[in-house]
Subunit: 301 residues, 2 copies
C-alpha cells in the first residue's frame, strides 16, 4: 500500500497515464497552477473553461504557453459546470475539475440525472486521504464533505466507495473503523448502532474486500496502544485504513483539524461516480489540488 | 489570558490555594500519581477511597508516606462514587475525583438529585482546554464527553458554562465560535440553524460576557488566514476562544485528534457543578490528570 503522496505520484508517472481535464471556473490561480503543474509533469492535457481573458493572463503570469490548452469561454457558474460535465459525456474530456465556482453549481451538474456522472443506484461520497508521517502510512476519512446524515444503507455505500478506493491504493483488505464517541452500543448515539449493522453486513458478505469494526473511539481506531490500554480487541482497532465518520460535521471538523493542527498533508477525492470527478475546496493550496488530480488519475488507471 | 498549562500552574501555586480531594477508585496508578504530584506541590490534601491494600502498596511504590492521606475502604464502584460525593456534601472534602471506575457509576453519584453536585436547572457539560503551542494560546472545545445531541437551550447552557470558565482563564470576553461543516445556514444541518439562534441570544443579552459567531467551519474559526481567504467576516472568526461542537461525536473525535495527530497538550474539565468535579478519561496520562486537577483548582479559586 502507498505510504505517501510522493509514492502515489511516482506510481502514476511510471504508469504512463495521460488524461484530459475539463477545468471549470479556470480563472482561479490555485486550480490553474495545479493543472499546469500536472501538465508539465506529462500527466494531463486540459480544456480551460471560464473567463478566457483572465485565464490567458494567469497562464502568462505562470510563463505557461497558452497553445497547449483549449480555452472555452463560459459566463455563468451554471454554464461553466454544465459544459465541463457535457465534455466528459461527449468524450471530449476524461474528468471535470472544479475551479472558482460554488460547490452547489458544480455538484448540480455532476449529479444531473440525464447528463450527470453518477451511476443509477449509486451514492456520491467524499473521502479524504491523509498522509500520517509519524506512522509512515496513509488512511482515509469518509465522508467529510457530501453526505450530511447518512443512514445505514447510505453508510454501506460510503464504505463500498472507500473500500474500492483503498484497493486502488494497494490496500487489499482495508480495516474499516466505524468511529463514534464510545466503544459500547448506546441507542442514543446512532453511530454506535450503525457500527453493529455495518459489521453484520460485512459478516453477511454484503461488504466484501474489507474488515469492518466498531463502534470505536478515534483513539482506539488509530492507536494500538490506546486500544490495548482500554482492552479493545476489535479487528479494526489500532490501525484502521478507513475511518467512517458518524455524520458530516464530525468528518469535516476532523479533516480540518488534520490540516490546521496536525499539519499533515491530505487530499480529498469524490467517489462513486462513473468517471473520476475532481472537486477540491476553495481553501486548498495548489499542492492539495495537485494531489486531488493525482487521486483521480489513480482512480482512472 | 493564560497561554500555557505551566502559566496556569504558576498562578495556582502563587495563589496559596489548598483543596481536599476525595479520590474514588484510588487503586489506580495514573490517578494516584497525579494526586501525589499535586500534594507534593502543596496544592491538595487527599482522602483515598477504594481497595486500601492496593492503594497502600501503590503509595509505597511511589515512595510516598501513607500518613499524609486518609485511606477509606470501599468495595463496589457505586459505594466508591457515593462516598466521595457524600464527603463533599458533608464538607469533608472539596472536590471528588474519578479514579479506576466506570464513568457511569461516577456520574450517577455526581448527578444524584438529592446528594449530587448539580444545581437545580443547571446543565453539566464538559470542556477540553487545549494548549496551542504554535499560536501561543489556549482554547476550549465543548462538549466532548457528556451531552450527546444538545438542542439550542442546552447549547446555551453549554456556552454559559464555557464562558464562565473562560473568565477564570483570564479571558474577559471570549469569542465563541459555533462550529459546523459550512458557513451558510442549511436547515438540513442543525448546527448551522443553532448558530443563528445562539448569536441572536447573545445579541438579546441572554449570553453575557462573550461574543458569539457562526456557523463557522473549523478552518475559519481558528485561522484568520482561512477566514480572510473565504471572505468570512464573522466576529468570532479566525481566533475563537471557545469552539462549540455540533454534537458529542464531533467534539470527541476532534479532541482525540488534537492528542493523537497534533500532539498538543489538553485537559478536560467538567462544568456547571456546584463544586469542581474532577473526571478524567481512562486513557489520560498522569500529566493529563494533574492538569485536570489544576483546572478544578482554578475553578475553586
Amino acid at each position: 500500500m502507498f505510504r505517501t503522496f510522493d509514492e502515489i505520484e511516482h506510481h502514476i508517472l511510471s504508469s504512463g497515464v495521460k488524461k484530459r481535464i475539463a477545468l471549470t471556473g479556470a480563472h482561479d490561480s490555485y486550480s490553474l497552477e495545479a493543472v499546469v503543474h500536472a501538465k508539465r509533469r506529462g500527466l494531463v492535457t486540459a480544456a480551460l473553461l471560464g473567463r478566457v481573458d483572465e485565464i490567458a493572463s494567469l497562464l502568462r503570469s505562470m510563463d505557461e504557453p497558452q497553445d497547449g490548452y483549449e480555452l472555452i469561454g463560459c459566463e455563468t457558474e451554471e454554464e461553466n459546470a454544465r459544459r465541463a460535465v457535457a465534455m466528459v459525456h461527449e468524450g471530449k474530456a476524461d474528468m471535470p475539475m472544479k475551479g472558482l465556482l460554488q460547490t452547489s453549481a458544480y455538484m448540480h451538474a455532476v449529479l444531473d440525472k440525464n447528463m450527470g456522472l453518477l451511476p443509477q443506484g449509486g451514492l456520491l461520497s467524499q473521502s479524504t486521504l491523509v498522509e500520517w508521517t509519524k506512522e509512515g502510512r496513509m488512511f482515509q476519512i469518509t465522508d467529510c464533505a457530501i453526505n450530511i446524515a447518512p443512514d445505514v444503507q447510505q453508510k454501506k455505500k460510503i464504505v463500498e466507495n472507500a473500500v474500492r478506493f483503498a484497493h486502488r491504493l494497494g490496500c487489499e483488505c482495508p480495516k474499516v473503523a466505524v468511529v463514534s464517541a464510545v466503544e459500547v452500543v448506546n441507542p442514543k448515539i446512532p453511530s454506535t448502532v450503525e457500527a453493529v449493522a455495518l459489521k453484520q453486513a460485512c459478516r453477511n458478505g454484503e461488504l466484501p474486500g474489507c474488515i469492518v469494526g466498531g463502534p470505536l473511539g478515534l483513539d482506539n481506531a488509530v492507536s494500538l496502544q490506546a486500544a490495548r490500554h482500554k482492552g479493545v480487541t476489535d479487528p479494526a482497532a489500532g490501525s484502521a485504513d478507513i475511518l467512517v465518520m458518524p455524520e458530516l460535521c464530525a468528518g469535516n471538523i476532523f479533516t480540518k483539524s488534520i490540516t490546521f493542527f496536525a499539519g499533515l498533508r491530505s487530499a480529498g477525492v469524490l467517489l462513486g461516480t462513473i468517471t473520476p470527478v475532481i472537486a477540491t475546496s476553495r481553501t486548498d493550496t495548489p499542492e492539495n489540488k495537485y494531489h486531488g488530480i493525482l487521486m483521480s488519475l489513480l482512480n482512472a488507471l
